[in-house]
């Protein structure tokens, strides 16, 4: 009977399943010395840990790098936390590291956790106690070592962002004997002198950063009346000081960014508001002007003068209409006359001319008959008091009053004497 044959894949998968079902391997801490440590460009770290009895392959994926707070190198004694699993392709198991710390940190870590819970219970980390960091600090205090990267970084960033902000450094020890006391004293000295205080240091080992995990530092930060920004080590390092601080910056450089406002942004901010002021006022003025103009127009429309003008215009319109009507009528009549004129035969024109002439003669004759025209020739008309024409001497006697009519009026005369002329007869 032939034994059952499996593929490599089947076996590796089977083994992987065994590992996955194991509670211990899913989360385990292993101590050992680092060897073959390689930081890959992808961000993953490949290494082994060994002791006198053997070797364990390890990998820390880039995504878990938060769990490593120092630059790991061969020979380091470390404790690696993670899960042991099978890499099917190579048919081997390895430790997938989630956190790595130097051996000896274990005790410190416990101390850290104990202090953290204690201070937390006391309310030293309460959000309600945290003071806002001023957005526009004029004076920024710094508690850190006078030598080292931290103070340089803060200085550089601050100068770049805003050279008008005053930095005051309180030099202090940041590691070793007396460091915690030095930091706490520094905070107290700067309290009240500055608008905000940066407390921190550059990166280092867990032990290097330990001063920032001391109770007196945490209390000094908590009691400080000035807002405190903590800036200890790298982003991955978290200390008690960070919990107590009003604001935690991942690095000293970042702390400077948070504490020192950017003067260009500030100027821009001021300028923007200035523009807003000018614009809104001129907009308002323009709006008011438009409103005034509207009212002016309305008032003008409603004024008596305007009404008169309206009525006058209406009258003028009527006049124009009438004129047009009359003109049209006249034009029509004219056209009719022209029509008749052209229609009149020649003969009729001659008759008309003759009639015209006759008419003129008659007028001239009538002119001759006009008594006034006689008078014009020097004759006058004499009437007696009864207004009868005096034709004979017999009609009058001495003393009678006569009225003589001339062209422009009458003459009243008295009769002196009468004399009959026998020979005059017409």
């Amino acid at each position: 009977m032939n034994p059952r044959v499996y593929t490599v894949g089947q076996i590796n998968r089977y083994i992987k399943g065994m590992f996955a079902g194991d509670g211990l391997l899913a989360s385990v801490f292993v101590s050992g010395e680092v060897s073959n440590c390689k930081y890959h460009s992808s961000g993953h770290i490949y290494f082994s840990i060994k002791d006198s009895t053997g070797t364990l392959s390890c990998i820390m994926f880039a995504g878990n790098r938060r769990g490593l707070a120092f630059r790991m190198k061969d020979g380091d004694k470390v404790v690696v936390g993670g899960a042991v699993d099978v890499y099917e392709r190579d048919g081997r198991y390895q430790l997938y590291a989630k956190q790595i710390r130097l051996e000896g940190e274990g005790e410190l870590y416990e101390k850290f956790m104990k202090l953290k819970s204690k201070l937390e219970a006391e309310g030293l980390f309460d959000k309600s106690h945290k003071k806002p960091v001023p957005a526009y600090a004029s004076v920024v205090g710094v508690v850190t070592a006078p030598t080292g990267a931290a103070v340089r970084d803060i200085q550089t960033i601050s100068r770049r962002r805003n050279p008008y902000v005053q930095l005051i450094l309180r030099p202090s020890l940041v590691q070793g004997e007396g460091a915690a006391q030095s930091i706490a004293d520094g905070i107290r000295m700067l309290d009240g002198l500055t608008d905000v205080i940066i407390v921190g240091r550059g990166g280092g080992s867990y032990e290097d950063l330990w001063a920032f995990n001391e109770e007196i530092v945490a209390r000094a930060i908590y009691e400080c009346g000035t807002p405190v920004i903590s800036a200890v080590g790298h982003e991955t390092d978290t200390t008690i000081a960070d919990f107590a601080a009003d604001l935690r910056a991942p690095t000293p450089s970042a702390a400077a960014e948070l504490a020192v406002f950017d003067c260009r942004e500030f100027r821009e901010s001021v300028r923007k508001r200035e523009t807003a002021f000018r614009n809104s006022l001129s907009r308002k003025l323009a709006a008011d002007e438009a409103r005034i103009k509207w009212y002016q127009a309305r008032l003008r429309a409603l004024s008596p003068v305007s009404r008169l003008r309206d009525e006058r215009r209406r009258a003028a319109d009527c006049e124009t209409a009438m004129e047009r009507a009359v003109r049209e009528r006249l034009a029509a009549a004219g056209r009719k006359a022209e029509f008749y004129a052209s229609a009149l035969p020649d003969r009729t024109a001659k008759v008309l001319a003759l009639r015209q002439r006759t008419f003129s003669v008659l007028i001239a004759r009538m002119e001759g008959l006009n008594p006034i025209s006689r008078l014009r020739q020097g004759y006058s008309f004499v009437a007696d008091s009864g207004r009868h024409a005096v034709r004979s001497v017999k009609q009058v006697k001495k003393g009678d009053r006569l009225t003589i009519y001339v062209t422009d009026g009458t003459v009243t005369a008295g009769v002196e004497e009468t004399a009959e002329v026998e020979t005059y007869h017409e």
Partner: protein, 78 residues
């Protein structure tokens, strides 16, 4: 409203944030239709005064880092 603003202005020493907040209020007041033209001018003048004051936050003097000695004396760092 402008009366109250004036008082606050004369109260001095607003922080920069408070000043900016006040300035923003003033701008919206200026943009509001309910504010008379007289008040607008007053707000505008107050605003410009406040802007000037805020602008003085940058005094134009570049600062050297100072170091605070043990005895509380400030001296130039470096």
């Amino acid at each position: 409203m402008s009366e109250e603003k004036k008082e606050i202005l004369e109260e001095e020493e607003l922080t920069v944030e408070q000043s900016f907040a006040r300035l923003d209020e003033m701008v919206s007041a200026l943009e509001s239709e309910d504010v008379s033209i007289e008040d607008s001018f007053r707000i505008y003048q107050d605003g410009m005064k406040l802007l000037k004051k805020v602008g003085q936050k940058l005094d134009g003097y570049e600062k050297k880092m100072l170091s605070l000695t043990e005895d509380g004396v400030l001296e130039e760092f470096e």
